[in-house]
């Protein structure tokens, strides 16, 4: 690392020439990027490639034998494994529910925050709260909130005469819905702020046109704001979908995949295979399956974006 830093602090002493050479100056660019390139190749591109390859080997932890390629054996094993299919299904349910609920909740909030309300600055600041809290602490906080005996969620239910002894994170039927709500909670600020920014830029552009049309506020929203927001909506929901599909820390601390695997997201499944059972090959195969799913999301996204541009 120290050599890299040295080259940063002492760039080559050379006067700048005309604009032409600066724009195309490939060598200068490479010299400036090189200190970054080296660690990136060594500690991310190389391991990434290795990770993909490991998915086609019989690698196991603790064995010093070189892993050998076993073709599609890992995938055969995975696909014959009930827990894999359950985890896959839970991952998709989780990713889609969180993304969709988060989108509609955020859109509503963004529209409210866009209105001319008193104390709007305060509301906008409060909205950011979940974003500023580390994922592990979000999970701890919600374990307290959802605690069956002293958690305020059950307290509130009891206060209005509803059943107040629900073990939200420990019960088979409530665990997944409960972690989905926490997922929505923690993802809302980012989606809300992005949508709010989008709404504001759209309205600045289309303000005049809309005023001439004389449409009502609802009509303006449906026919003017929403279509103009489409590229942003497609981008933010695709990214949310991928991030949620990949998520780990929040649910790991909330339930660790329990009860009885009811919240076993794909990343938790892969983590267990790798670091509890030492099945490096199988876990990497799971990673590769996840890459395929993410690639499908991205292809759908790119096609939607190109259609938008036409």
């Amino acid at each position: 690392m120290s050599t890299n830093m040295a080259s940063v602090s002492a760039p080559p002493e050379r006067p700048i020439k005309r604009r032409k050479t600066r724009k195309s100056g490939g060598r200068d660019a490479w010299i400036l990027v090189l200190p970054t390139l080296l660690p990136v190749v060594l500690f991310s591109i190389y391991p990434l490639a290795q990770g993909v390859l490991l998915g086609f080997t019989d690698a196991r932890a603790g064995l010093n034998v070189e892993p050998t390629f076993n073709g599609l054996e890992n995938y055969q094993e995975l696909f014959g494994y009930d827990l894999f299919w359950e985890s896959f299904q839970i991952g998709l349910i989780w990713a889609f529910s969180v993304t969709i609920l988060q989108f509609f909740a955020s859109l509503g909030l963004a529209l409210l925050l866009n209105m001319d309300l008193r104390l709007r600055w305060l509301a906008r600041t409060l909205v950011l709260i979940p974003w500023a809290i580390p994922p592990v602490i979000v999970a701890i906080m919600w374990r307290l909130m959802l605690d069956p005996s002293f958690g305020p969620v059950n307290q509130a239910l009891g206060a209005v005469g509803l059943p107040d002894n629900i073990n939200w994170l420990g019960d088979f039927s409530t665990a997944l819905p409960a972690v989905i709500v926490v997922g929505v909670w923690s993802g809302m600020p980012q989606t809300t702020i992005t949508l709010l920014a989008g709404i504001q830029s759209v309205q600045a552009e289309l303000h005049e046109a809309a005023a001439i049309d004389g449409a009502g506020s609802w009509g303006r929203f449906i026919h003017v704001t929403l279509p103009a927001l489409k590229p942003i909506i497609i981008a933010i929901t695709t990214l949310d979908l991928i991030w949620n599909f990949n998520s780990f820390a929040l649910v790991f601390v909330l339930t660790a995949g329990g009860p009885g695997g009811q919240t076993m997201l794909p990343m938790l499944f892969a983590y267990n295979e790798a670091f509890r059972y030492g099945e490096f090959g199988l876990a990497s195969a799971m990673g590769n399956v996840m890459v395929v799913v993410i690639a499908i999301f991205l292809v759908v996204y790119l096609r939607a974006q190109t259609r938008e541009r036409k």
Binding site: A29, P47, L126, P134, V136, L144, G214, I232, Y271, A274
Partner: protein, 290 residues
């Protein structure tokens, strides 16, 4: 025809607003309670005594504002060590990432080379990849070079994986500085290092601050890599130690856990307070290009 004054459902625009206004405030209040209440509850829990926490009739607010939980959280050796480890790792990562991304971001913003496309692809890839594919090979590599269970190993991993986003942020800030300013300096006969030092760097300062704060916070909060790479209790970072506390239910002092959680959140809260205004514009461009 103007709808501004046209009555609909027998109500004027003004009358309808009088009905919908309170409704809007009500819905907004509902949202804010949903988003802010968990933090307030954590705050309230951090002031409760163990007697209050175990009471059969739990109260929302603590009986008195006592800082015993905070004091004991700070004095607990585990949390103190974890806090120190987190600070070391986050600071080292921030310094390395800032030094590495500064020249690279400048190059990406100012030169038109193939590098730009490669970097953009890499940055996007780094945002969408499932980390399980990286962590296993990294685990093996770090084991081979003796950096498993080591803060240095953690810093290396954090630095490399915070780099793409930091680069992306900083590139945007460099692109915001007009090239004309640099060219004016060149016409005056200044050398490139001098131009960089006297013209570019001062204008880049706010961007550098935002980028390094962001890097600091992401390493401060990180959990997955630390969970896999650090086993030694003396080397655990704050998120690891806090997660372990709640895992060992029954013995844990909830008030102390809440206090420690809040203390661990302070850097992030300060960061978000600082960059709050910049968030909006930066995110929007990120989302559209993203």
């Amino acid at each position: 025809m103007s709808t501004q004054t046209a009555p609909r459902n027998g109500l004027s625009q003004k009358q309808r607003r009088m009905i919908s206004r309170p409704l809007q405030y009500l819905v907004l209040a509902g949202y804010l309670v949903f988003l802010a209440f968990p933090l307030l509850f954590l705050l309230s829990t951090s002031f409760k005594t163990s007697r209050e926490l175990n009471s059969p009739v739990p109260q929302l607010l603590p009986e008195s504002l006592e800082f015993t939980n905070y004091v004991s959280a700070i004095q607990t050796a585990d949390l103190l060590t974890a806090g120190r480890n987190s600070l070391i790792v986050a600071l080292a990562t921030t310094v390395i990432v800032t030094l590495l991304s500064l020249p690279a971001a400048y190059a990406l913003a100012r030169f038109k080379t193939k590098l730009r496309g490669l970097a953009t692809g890499w940055i996007l890839l780094s945002q969408v990849f499932p980390f399980i594919l990286i962590i296993i090979p990294l685990y093996i590599i770090l084991q081979q070079i003796g950096l498993i269970d080591s803060l240095v190993g953690l810093v290396v991993v954090y630095a490399v994986w915070s780099l793409p986003f930091a680069l992306w942020m900083l590139r945007g800030y460099v692109a915001g500085i007009p090239v004309d300013l640099e060219e004016a300096g060149a016409v005056d006969g200044a050398s490139r290092p001098r131009i960089l030092r006297t013209i570019v760097l001062p204008l880049l300062a706010p961007g550098l601050v935002a980028t390094s704060l962001f890097t600091f916070i992401s390493s401060w909060n990180e959990f997955f890599f630390a969970l896999v790479l650090i086993q030694d209790p003396d080397l655990q970072t704050l998120p690891l130690t806090l997660a372990r506390f709640i895992g060992a239910e029954g013995q844990v002092q909830l008030g102390q856990l809440a206090a420690a959680s809040l203390l661990a959140t302070i850097p992030s809260l300060v960061f978000f307070a600082i960059i709050q205004r910049r968030l909006t514009s930066g995110l929007l461009s990120g989302a559209v290009k993203g």
